[in-house]
Symmetry: C2
Subunit: 336 residues, 2 copies
């Protein structure tokens, strides 16, 4: 069955079920000219948006609708997390090619609703239209944060310690397994694949770091450690030194790299889509922050280096050798 | 020149100029994980979003970038107008095919900035990525409105008078001229073409009708009078009677219809993209509303019929004949 069999409004009726998981402040969801909701009193509003195009960001044949929907929302929630905010409302625009089955689409909205429910994010509106060839999804997420707790990219300071909230490189390894049709024949490979398909938005962790005023600056790792830390360095006009042996690399990634003869640190630096948070914390708060974070989440906050005023991004190896890394961001328009 | 010649970040730097026209409440625009701004205190937040796909919604060869950008934003502003709100922040996601010249894209953002400046709407963020074939634009607009002034679709009541804020059918006639390459050889045709290319968002008018508590319900005419009034009838669970001779048809449209032997009322009913507001006003307020509106805007508020409890949409001709119109919305997935 396809959307044309039930019509645009039939489709909207179907996907509208189960969209409101936090109805209290919602005056109007799907079904008017605009959605209307009461913003959190006294807070700043955050808005982020991400456009996904078939054959650029995903292949319809190698993903389920559920996984695609989940990840499309996860990437946006991660952006709100990186600002220290709470995610609240999601808006999904979708352009649907004629050959895209209704099952796939309903599954896509299920993936978003599942993740939305986990973080109390309503699916509050959007736009539904036709596409000629590629499936296109734009997700916009609105969130909020107290004004004096926002985590920017431009506020890192020399001597801040740099932390990651989770492992780096796993997602890239999972993508490698998927793209090369490598059999996922172990628990380890399964975890890597899941890291790529179901990235965790660090919303609670971002909120914690912001609320406790531990972090000076933050960003989420969507394009890779070097690219994303590069954005902080550029915006804050600082440099940084990273320690290769401190970069949090999972046992799963190590096993993967052993088998295929890759360098796990390369995967961490250039991987992308880990969606962990990178944050910088002033030295005098770092110890307390780490202790407090572990107590709260029962997970470590991994120190990976420090901010300095060099203007460069340097990687130090255990033997003392140093490599300069060019802190450029991932560019969608350059050939890779 | 193309985006790949200057890179994604070079492109973002270029289009970022002139985006902030109302900087006062903005904490962060383009250039972080999310935009951050202070919402209007005490107000409800409105969000609307529209996805435009090349070869579905526009042909790149038959529009300028400026006109495309202008109209993409105008459609969203019109949605905020139909809720009685003030538009504030716009977020533009764009997926760019390799063959789309930089000039066209800069022109597109110019069109949005021009219209944004006219209504004090910031261009506050978005997403920039690659497309394989079609140019894709998603615009999301955030606005605000006092809670007890929101204009919904579901709040029309029997005996309300129905009004339009402007002429209907002009935009459809303009599209006909464009699609059929008809020479725009008169002032009249020029006005029709402009009605299609540069639709006016009735933001001030919507706000006025909401602030003065004149209107019970409102919607903007994006799909045509019958479709959009149909949404009000369906959501409000009411019917309506329209009077053919009262439907505001411009002299320009009459001249066009004379020449090509069309019925102007058909153009008004099924036209679409006029982006006037339809609103319903209780009878006891209607006279005052019309007088007050004319005084404020020096433009008429056109009465076109009234809401009843018939559940049907009927059109009455001057000779007393009546025709029932099926109040269905435009469906992107049905063949026309």
């Amino acid at each position: 069955m396809y959307v044309k069999d039930i019509g645009e409004f039939g489709f909207i009726r179907r996907i509208s079920r189960g969209c409101l998981v936090r109805p209290k402040h919602v005056l109007k969801g799907i079904g008017d000219d605009a959605a209307a909701f009461v913003p959190s009193p006294g807070d700043v509003t955050l808005v982020t948006t991400d456009l996904l195009v078939e054959r650029v960001h995903f292949l319809r044949d190698s993903t389920s609708g559920f996984n695609l929907g989940y990840k499309a929302l996860a990437a946006n929630l991660s952006d709100i997390a990186a600002m220290g905010g709470t995610a609240q409302e999601a808006f999904v625009s979708i352009a649907i090619p004629e050959d895209c089955p209704l099952d796939f689409l309903e599954d896509l909205y299920e993936g978003m609703k599942k993740l939305g429910a986990e973080f109390a994010v309503n699916l509050l509106g959007g736009d539904t239209t036709k596409s000629n060839l590629d499936l296109i999804i734009n997700v916009a997420v609105v969130g909020s944060v107290p004004k004096d707790e926002i985590l920017y990219r431009h506020t890192a300071q020399p001597e801040d310690a740099i932390f990651s909230t989770g492992f780096l490189g796993d997602s890239r390894a999972g993508l490698h397994l998927i793209l090369n049709n490598i059999p996922v024949d172990s628990k380890e490979f399964m975890v890597l694949k899941d890291a790529h398909i179901f990235p965790k938005p660090y919303l609670r962790e971002g909120r914690f770091l912001a609320r406790k005023r531990y972090a000076h600056a933050a960003i989420d790792v969507s394009d890779g450690l070097s690219s994303d830390l590069g954005h902080i360095l550029e915006e804050s006009n600082v440099g940084a030194r990273l320690y290769a042996e401190k970069i949090p690399v999972s046992q799963n990634l190590k096993k993967f790299c052993d088998r295929f003869e890759f360098d796990p640190v390369d995967f961490a630096l250039a991987g992308g889509e880990d969606y962990t948070l990178l944050c910088t914390i002033p030295t005098d708060k770092a110890e307390e922050a780490v202790r407090d974070y572990v107590r709260e989440f029962n997970q470590p906050l991994y120190p990976i280096g420090e901010i300095n005023d060099s203007g460069r991004l340097e990687l130090v190896y255990p033997d003392g050798k140093m490599k300069q890394i060019k802190p450029t961001g991932w560019d969608h328009f350059k050939s890779v």
